[in-house]
Amino acid sequence: MSHDYRVVQWTPFKKTFDLWLGSGIIVFLAAHVASAVFAFPPDQHASEVQLALRASGSCAFALLSLILAIGPAARLSPRFLPLLYNRRHMGVVCFLIALLHGGLVVFWYHGFSGMNPLVSVLVSNSEFHSARGFPFETLGVGALLILFVMAATSHDFWNANLGPGLWKAIHMSVYGAYVLIVGHVMLGAAQGDEGFAWALAVGISAALVMGLHLGAGVLEARRGALMRRIVAEGWLRVGAALDIPDTRARVVSPPKGERIAVFRDGDRIHAISNVCRHQGGPLGEGRIVDGSITCPWHGFQYRPEDGCSPPPYSERVATYRTRIQNGIVFVHPEALPLGTGPGPTLIGGASPAPSDCSGEVRDV
């Protein structure tokens, strides 16, 4: 049901991210309001509440579009990953801006009458059968409720207690919120004499978001095909490189032969036999200490790059070729000659040349 939950830590990167996020929102709102004020003669500007209402609505939609674009963008290029890992902050801020928009609408358009403003939102218009007259506010209310649930459960506490599956399912409803908001604008502000620009803006945003998802989907499909080909060539899938704890290993069992321990040493991936030459201890349960894979049983050590014990010792274990494709580590089950190594595979970069027990770099 639950796994370890740790309080979210504020890192400098997160703080910087939030600073930029806040600045971006201020720029957006200020540009929206300023251009609306200067678009018309000074004695004809919109009321302050309506200026704020429009700007916050536009901002919430733009932010939600951006949030939805980050996911596929990060799949297309890992350079967007830092945005992905901070996306939740954007989601919470998006909800707060949408709440401001909704609050102003309720106050301004539904207030000052004999009816409860919240009741008025739901009953003032029942033309559900008409596209022209459709009560678009109800779609906005639906989207706001979804954003609220997401914001309220965005904390890691909920991820830990609801379980990743349920948590993810709840947060996938963001797509429902997006569809509702597209409908909210298209059946609301986009209607009427001056609504074309809104329809255009929403249409372009929605097309961008869908295009990115489609592009990422195609890429995923291609990657899937590539993965299947790699496996067909005899490589064994180990798992995501980043899922292997630093200085630790993940052990895989080839169809025949000794089990293989795949270690991560910072950004390097190495594979050696899982069997210690001393008493057969499980090297994959050991860790890298002072640059050497250290057996958990009696502390025998092996260099990750060539499987040789550091001088003056002479034990050797087999090494294996590794490769990383789209962040997934593969190992080839064919052991290399004892005392030689294929060279590590780097996470996110070119791999150094192979070496052997003498420490010399070999030509490939």
């Binding site: 830590q9 930029w20 609306a36 009321s47 358009y109 004499d193 001056e194 704890p245």
Partner: protein, 249 residues
């Protein structure tokens, strides 16, 4: 640090964060977002030339009339009769005794757009006897048939459109306009294309020159086609349309 599940994706000991790229992306997003915001801010409905200074409360002397909506017939600066409708400061009609009529003084703030006027009455005792003498000619309401009219436009709540809201028309304003209509405030009609910056909006009444019933509510603020007659009553132009002759377009 590196085994922190939240930060592992960009932990500096794994991937060097591409700061240059992120900075460029951030500035790009801010510039793009600012541009989109500036574009969107200029779009949408013009607020129109309506004015309502709520702090400018004054006494207005005139002839109080209750139909089709409560209004005050006054003498304008040019000596000609001039009509100002009456409303509360909210979305409700003023409450008048059935026999309230005659030469009175009303305290309130003026809402105006072009020649259109409405007085948002002050709280408390806003209606009293006028100390002046009723000028002649205010009780003459010559009615002139201006001919048939077949218009596409929007049924408005007059108070918001006159200047209580800026802008006070269109789909986004539908709920507000409906509340105003339910509250008994006057309805008007603007033609498509002139709702934003125009100043002409005839009163919207039924074929007999009376208020429409609640069956008009679903059409408020939607684009409709209406077929009826234009009639001038005093200084007020009325668009008289039978309910079956209103169609959503």
């Amino acid at each position: 640090m590196s085994d922190d599940p939240f930060f592992i994706g960009w932990s500096p000991d794994l991937h060097k964060i591409d700061r240059r790229f992120l900075l460029l992306a951030t500035f790009g997003l801010m510039a793009g977002g600012g541009g989109v915001a500036a574009f969107l801010g200029r779009q949408g409905q013009p607020p129109g030339p309506g004015i309502w200074d709520q702090s400018a409360i004054a006494g207005h002397s005139g002839l109080l009339v209750q139909t089709p909506w409560p209004m005050l017939r006054m003498i304008g600066d040019d000596g000609a009769p001039q009509t100002a409708f009456l409303a509360t400061t909210g979305k409700l009609a003023v409450r008048l005794a059935a026999n309230a009529r005659g030469w009175v003084k009303v305290r309130g703030s003026l809402i105006s757009r072009g020649e259109n006027r409405m007085i948002a009455v002050d709280d408390g005792h806003w209606l009293g006897a006028s100390e002046g003498i009723e000028p002649p000619g205010l009780r003459d309401w010559p009615e002139e048939d201006l001919g048939a009219a077949h218009l596409v436009g929007e049924i408005l709540d007059a108070k918001c459109w006159f200047g209580a809201m800026r802008p006070g028309y269109g789909k986004t304003h539908k709920a507000c306009a409906t509340l105003c209509a339910k509250g008994g405030l006057p309805l008007a009609f603007c033609q498509t294309g002139s709702c934003g910056s125009g100043v002409d909006a005839p009163l919207f009444l039924d074929a007999d020159g009376r208020r429409h019933g609640r069956d008009i509510l679903p059409f408020i603020a939607d684009r409709v086609m209406a077929k009826g007659r234009m009639v001038r009553v005093g200084d007020v132009v009325q668009f008289r349309v039978a309910r079956p002759d209103i169609h959503r377009v």
